[in-house]
């Protein structure tokens, strides 16, 4: 029951801080697809930005020689907007409560040697100082490298294949999503325990 001293503004701010349940967040994420199509006639897909960033640098490789402003200017703006949205949601309107993690996951991570710290991502792996630990370096640098290599080879990531591609009923995107999950299961259950033991 809400007390009478709680103003509407407090209720609104509390709702904005989250976390939001899947049935609120999921449909809102899905709406990005028609928003981009109707407002810009653009296909949702964020990994292309990694290629555009390569194309900004001078290169002899024809794969990176194209007019990145014309092809990808809009998408780089989306990418920058996402960072701004992250600041808005993660700093200005940050959820003060620690991130809750399912009990069996907490237990499994503890067995692998990692304690849940209530942040969005464990500081033990993703802080600047962890870059100088072996496991932090492997997770950040090898993990990031695989994201960049794999998404371009597959021609898309979670947004381009799993959300946009499946929304368009593209069979290749279903194959890609099968690959995403296969790789993810492999990394979680075989690779990560080895890396966390480093």
């Amino acid at each position: 029951m809400l007390g009478y001293n709680i103003s509407h503004m407090d209720i609104l701010l509390d709702a904005l801080r989250g976390p939001w349940p899947w049935y609120v967040a999921g449909p809102l994420i899905g709406l990005t697809v028609p928003l981009l199509l109707i407002l810009g006639n653009k296909r949702f897909g964020l990994s292309s930005n990694l290629r555009h960033m390569c194309a900004i640098a001078p290169s002899k490789n024809p794969f990176f020689r194209y007019d990145w402003r014309r092809e990808g200017g809009w998408n780089l703006l989306v990418f920058a907007g996402i960072a701004a949205g992250g600041f808005l949601g993660g700093v200005l309107l940050a959820d003060p409560a620690p991130v809750q993690v399912a009990e069996p996951t907490t237990a499994a991570l503890a067995r692998a040697g990692l304690d849940v710290d209530g942040r969005l991502a464990p500081a033990e792996l993703f802080s600047w100082s962890s870059l100088f630990t072996l496991r932090g370096f492997v997770v950040m640098v090898l993990g990031g490298f695989l994201i960049g290599f794999g998404t371009r080879w597959a021609g898309g990531c979670t947004s381009g294949h799993a959300i946009m591609g499946l929304s368009e009923r593209q069979w290749p995107s279903l194959l890609a999503v099968v690959g995403f999950f296969g790789g993810g299961l492999l990394a979680t259950h075989l690779l990560l325990p080895l890396v966390l033991a480093l």
């Binding site: 899947w22 049935y23 967040a25 449909p27 809102l28 994420i29 990005t32 028609p34 199509l37 109707i38 006639n41 990994s47 990694l50 290629r51 990176f64 402003r69 809009w74 989306v78 920058a80 907007g81 996402i82 960072a83 701004a84 949205g85 992250g86 808005l88 949601g89 991130v99 993690v101 996951t105 499994a108 969005l120 991502a121 464990p122 792996l125 993703f126 802080s127 950040m140 993990g143 990031g144 695989l146 994201i147 960049g148 794999g150 371009r152 990531c157 979670t158 947004s159 946009m164 499946l166 929304s167 995107s173 194959l175 890609a176 995403f180 790789g183 993810g184 990394a187 259950h189 690779l191």
Partner: protein, 156 residues
Amino acid sequence: MTSANASTTSEGRSGTAVTGFAARYVLIGMYFGFVLVKAEVLSWYRIQEMFRFHSFHMYGVLGSAILVGLVTVWLIERYQLKAVNGAAITFTPKDRSWARYLLGGSLFGLGWALTGACPGPIAALIGAGLTGFTVVLLAAVAGTWAYGSVRGRLPH
């Protein structure tokens, strides 16, 4: 400034049109980034729960997002809705092969589980103050660069 104006828009090259063009995409990005944080789908822990089948959250988010995408794309096709600039919205089938999707997809999956992030969430995490993800972003750009260098020798 005119370089930011895509050739596909019917807008002129006046300053306000370019600003409007830019603002539209930045705002869509902000909307998406904000939801990513509030859904916690950019959390390394949520991705761990997903790949360990310990929580329904990620499956619910992705499933309902795809459902909304499916329905809205179907509506756009069914009623031949046009973009605001008047252009027809068309969908091009992707190449029918399997190697690039399964192999490339698996490599991305490895990186997704290790970092708990994909390209969109990386940007949102940096904005949310987890600046260590700048390293992940730079490594991802390097990965794309490496792919571009060896792609001629890879099956697609």
